[in-house]
């Protein structure tokens, strides 16, 4: 199963949804379409607009590949759950966002679990990526930086 997510942005992301609908004739697809209207001829297995983080996590976990906008939440979940993700950044020039997502996508580009796709090549990219054997947990995004929660707790303790 391929899980597709466009996030909670109030702007629509028609480019991705249209491309994914093309994929739906060949692959089994579950889609979280957010504020984008799903075309009536789109033959996905399941679709919903928004959901809780827990349900999103379950779909990511059950999928063999995730296709998503370049949102930090979905990328981090995929890295945590060891799922390959194809990023299609929302672009300002297409009025798909307030802040261009290309910057986020580029940051993650070196991670072995992350792929950035040009929307025109999405169909062929999906086929290629699914043929890659399971990569294992090779995410490079591990570091020794302190946790934000610890920083916040320390600050609060020092100010009480």
């Amino acid at each position: 199963m391929i899980f597709v997510s466009v996030g909670t942005n109030f702007k629509s992301f028609d480019r991705l949804i249209d491309s994914v609908c093309e994929l739906s004739s060949k692959y089994s697809i579950v889609i979280q379409h957010g504020n984008t209207i799903l075309p009536s001829d789109c033959r996905v297995v399941e679709s919903f607009d928004f959901s809780s983080p827990e349900i999103m996590r379950k779909f990511i976990s059950d999928s063999e590949l995730v296709i998503a906008h370049a949102g930090v939440a979905i990328i981090e979940e995929c890295l945590m759950l060891n799922r390959r993700i194809i990023l299609v950044p929302r672009m300002l020039e297409f009025n798909e966002c307030v802040d261009d997502q290309y910057e986020t996508a580029i940051h993650y580009k070196d991670d072995t679990m992350v792929f950035i796709s040009n929307i025109e090549n999405l169909y062929s990219d999906v086929g290629k990526i699914l043929r890659i054997p399971n990569l294992g947990n090779k995410s490079k995004n591990f570091d020794t930086t302190p946790y934000v929660s610890d920083l916040v707790d320390d600050f609060i303790n020092n100010n009480e």
């Binding site: 996030g7 909670t8 942005n9 109030f10 607009d49 928004f50 959901s51 809780s52 983080p53 827990e54 370049a70 949102g71 930090v72 939440a73 981090e76 945590m80 307030v98 802040d99 997502q101 910057e103 986020t104 580029i106 940051h107 570091d143 930086t145 302190p146 946790y147 934000v148 929660s149 610890d150 920083l151 916040v152 707790d153 600050f155 609060i156 100010n159």
Partner: protein, 152 residues
Amino acid sequence: MFNRREFFVVTSTGGHLYEIERCLSANVKRRSVFFMPLDGKTSLISGYLTVKHIIEPDTKYILYFFLFFQAFFWVILYRPKIMISAGSGVCIPFFLLGKLIGAKLIYIESKSRFISPSKTAKFLYYFTDLFIIQNSSLKKFFTVSVVGRMHK
């Protein structure tokens, strides 16, 4: 006159919500009033003292005017000691009013920011007491900031 609530957590939905959920300990959550835009689509916010819904202004500046009055009501009612946010702009009225009543302000810049800071961060940097970034590449913009990372 009113019960003072210790902490305010103010955040937008989507990635901001995801980040704040992973940036706060259970202890902070259970002492916090949680403010998020009313969209009814992302539910199951748990562990907080209480959850309140506010206006999501997005890029409609007129809505900030109404949000300011909402923030004024809650800030006067609860007089929080500490305010925490991971963006977006919904936190600005809360932070400005919080500063006026002497609350300590904690801002967490989004992890999606690597090259350039968000407008909200650039504005609130001068008001916050603890400014946390998640990518050290932003140090050049926020010299008095601390680099931290989210819990998995």
